[in-house]
Amino acid sequence: MSITITRPPMPAQTLRPTQRLRRAARRRRVFGHIGAGIVSAIILLWTFTPIYNMIMVALEPKGDVFTTTLFPARPSVESFWIVLSQGFWYLEFFWHQFGNSVYIATMVTLLVLLIGSLTSFSIGRMRIRNGWLITNAALLTYVIPASFLAIPFYLIMQHYGLNNNPWSVISALVTFATPYAIFIFQEYGRSIPLELDESARIDGASPVQIYLKVYLPLMAPALVAVGTYAMLLAWNEYLYQFLLLSSKQSMTVPVALAQFTNSDVAPWNYMMATAIIYALPPIATYYMFRRKMTAGLTIGGIKG
C-alpha cells in the first residue's frame, strides 16, 4: 500500500499576494546585497588601515618616514633586511630577543597544558573530593585582571630571586592562562565517557597510564585549542615582560620595540618592520588552528 499526497489546487485569488510577496522578497534580497556590500567595505577599510600603515612605514627607505604621502615614493624592503641582519644599534640583539620570546611562549604553552590537564584529570576524571574548591579558585583567578596584580607580582619576584629571569614572566603567564585551560578541559572532558577510564582501570592501568594513554589522546582537540590560546597570550603580553625583564640580553622583542617609541630618534621604518616580523608567527598559528580555537571558545570559558 502506498500513500500519495496530492497538492490541493491553488485558488486563483491567492496568486496575486504570492507574487507581491515574491517581489518584496526580491527587493529585500537586493537591499540585503547592497547593505552587505557597504558593511564589507567598511570592515575592509577599518581592518586594513592600521595594517596598511604598518606595511607602508616599513617599506619606506631611511629618511622618508616624515612624509605626507599615502604610499612610499621609493618603496624598499631595506628595513626588513636591516632587522633580519641586526644592522642597527637598537636591533643588535634582535634574534636573541626573538629567541627569548619563542622560549617564553613555548614554556608557557607546555606548562599550561601540563598543569591544566593534570588538574582537570584529577578533578574531572578521578573525581577527587572537594575538587570544586580548586575549580572555583581557578574561576576567581580567571576574572582578576592581570595588570592589577602587576605591582605586587613584580615585588614578590624579587623575593623569589627571579628578577630579570624569563621564568618570572613564564610563571606570571602560566598563572593567568591555566584557569582557562582548566575550564576548557573540564567542559571538554564531560563529552568523554567515564567508562573508558573505568575499563582501563579494570585492565590494571594506573592513574598515570590512564592519564597518558586514555585521557590525553582523547583530549587532543582541547589541547590544541588551549595550546594556541596560551601561545597567543604569551606573544601578546607586554606589561609583565616590560616590568620583569630589564637587561638587553633577557628582554623580549616587544620590550625592546617599545623602548624605542620613547626615544627621540625613533627609526619608525625599522620599528614597523620589526613589528611585522614579530606579528607573523601568531598570525600563522592563529589561522592554522582557527577552527579549533573557536571551538574552544564555544566549549567553555571566554578569555580575551
Partner: protein, 305 residues
C-alpha cells in the same frame, strides 16, 4: 558535585574495598588517592605562590588609609576615574553592540561572508603592541596616515589626534574596538549558530521579518550570553593596559590614563608602588560586585554557550 561526594563519604565504611561504583564517586583509596592529590599539586603551588601571595601582598601594600587621601586629592587620579568610566561605558557597550550586529552579518550564507570573516578576525591575531604602535603613528598630526588621507581625499587638515584629551581618549576607545571587537563577534557568532534554524523557519512561516525574528528570537535567546559577555568585557577592559599605554601613552599631560596605566605610572615613573596599588585597588568597589555576579553566571552559562 560536593553533595554527591559527601553522600559517598557517608556510605564509604559500609561498602567493599573493590567497589567500582564508589571508586568513581569520590571513594578514591590508597595509591589512587595519592595520585589524584599529586596531580593537583602543580596548580595548587602556582595558585598559592602566584595568586594568593601577590593578592595578599597587594592588599597589605594598599591598606594604609592615608594613601587614599593622597590618591583622591590628586587631580590626575580624578581625571583617570572619569576616563575609566567613559572608557568602560563606551568601550564595553559599543564593542558588544557592534559584535552582536556584525555576528548577524557573518551569519549570511555564501563564501564572501566566510572570506570577510577571515579578514575581519585579523586584528585579534595580531599582537597588541605592533598594532597599537602602528595606530599611534597613524594618528600623528603631522605625518600620520590618517591626516594625510584626510588631506588627499577631502582637502582638510585633520586635528592632532593625540594632543587633545577627548580626541586621544576617543582614539584609544576606537583602537580597543579595532583589536577586540572581532573576538567578541566570534563568540556571539557561535552563540547565534547554536540557535536552531527551525525556530527561524517557524517564525518565517508565521510572517516574521528579519527585525521581528531578531527581537523575538535572537535577542531573548542570546540575552543571558550577552549579559555574561558584558560583565566579562567590563573586567577585561578594566585591566586593559596595552591600549592606552601604546596609543596615547596616558598623554597629553597625563589626561588620558586609565586606572591600570595610572597604577603602573605611580609605581614606576613616580617611584611610589603603594600609591600605584591604591589606584588599582580603588577599582575594587566596582570589580567585586561584577565578579560575584559573573562567577554565578559563568557556571550556568558555560554549558549553554
Amino acid at each position: 558535585m560536593s553533595s554527591s561526594a559527601t553522600l559517598a563519604e557517608i556510605g564509604r565504611p559500609l561498602v567493599q574495598r573493590r567497589s567500582l561504583w564508589h571508586y568513581w564517586r569520590g571513594g578514591l583509596r590508597g595509591s589512587e588517592f595519592t595520585w589524584a592529590v599529586a596531580f593537583l599539586v602543580p596548580y595548587v603551588v602556582v595558585f598559592l605562590a602566584f595568586v594568593v601571595y601577590p593578592v595578599l601582598y597587594g592588599l597589605w601594600m594598599g591598606s594604609r588609609p592615608g594613601l587614599y587621601v593622597e590618591l583622591f586629592s590628586d587631580p590626575i587620579y580624578q581625571m583617570t576615574v572619569a576616563n575609566t568610566v567613559i572608557f568602560l561605558v563606551f568601550g564595553v557597550n559599543l564593542k558588544l553592540f557592534l559584535a552582536l550586529m556584525l555576528s548577524g552579518f557573518f551569519m549570511r550564507p555564501g563564501c564572501w561572508t566566510k572570506l570577510m570573516l577571515l579578514v575581519y578576525v585579523l586584528p585579534w591575531a595580531i599582537p597588541s603592541l605592533p598594532a597599537f604602535i602602528s595606530i599611534h603613528w597613524m594618528l600623528n598630526g603631522d605625518w600620520g596616515l590618517l591626516n594625510n588621507a584626510l588631506y588627499e581625499v577631502f582637502g582638510i587638515d585633520g586635528p592632532s589626534w593625540l594632543n587633545s584629551r577627548w580626541l586621544a581618549l576617543g582614539s584609544a576607545i576606537c583602537s580597543h574596538l579595532w583589536k577586540w571587537t572581532p573576538f567578541w563577534t566570534v563568540i556571539l557568532l557561535a552563540g547565534r549558530m547554536s540557535i536552531p534554524q527551525e525556530i527561524y523557519d517557524a517564525a518565517k512561516v508565521d510572517g516574521a521579518t528579519g527585525l521581528h525574528s531578531f527581537a523575538h528570537i535572537t535577542f531573548p535567546l542570546l540575552g543571558n550570553l550577552y549579559l555574561v559577555l558584558t560583565l566579562l568585557a567590563t573586567i577585561f577592559l578594566l585591566g586593559d593596559f596595552n591600549t592606552v599605554f601604546f596609543v596615547t601613552g596616558g598623554g597629553p599631560a597625563n589626561t588620558t590614563h586609565l586606572l591600570a596605566t595610572l597604577g603602573i605610572r605611580d609605581a614606576y615613573d613616580m617611584g611610589h608602588p603603594e600609591l600605584g596599588v591604591a589606584a588599582v585597588m580603588s577599582a575594587l568597589p566596582l570589580m567585586i560586585p561584577v565578579v560575584v555576579v559573573l562567577m554565578r553566571k559563568l557556571k550556568n552559562t558555560q554549558v549553554q554557550l
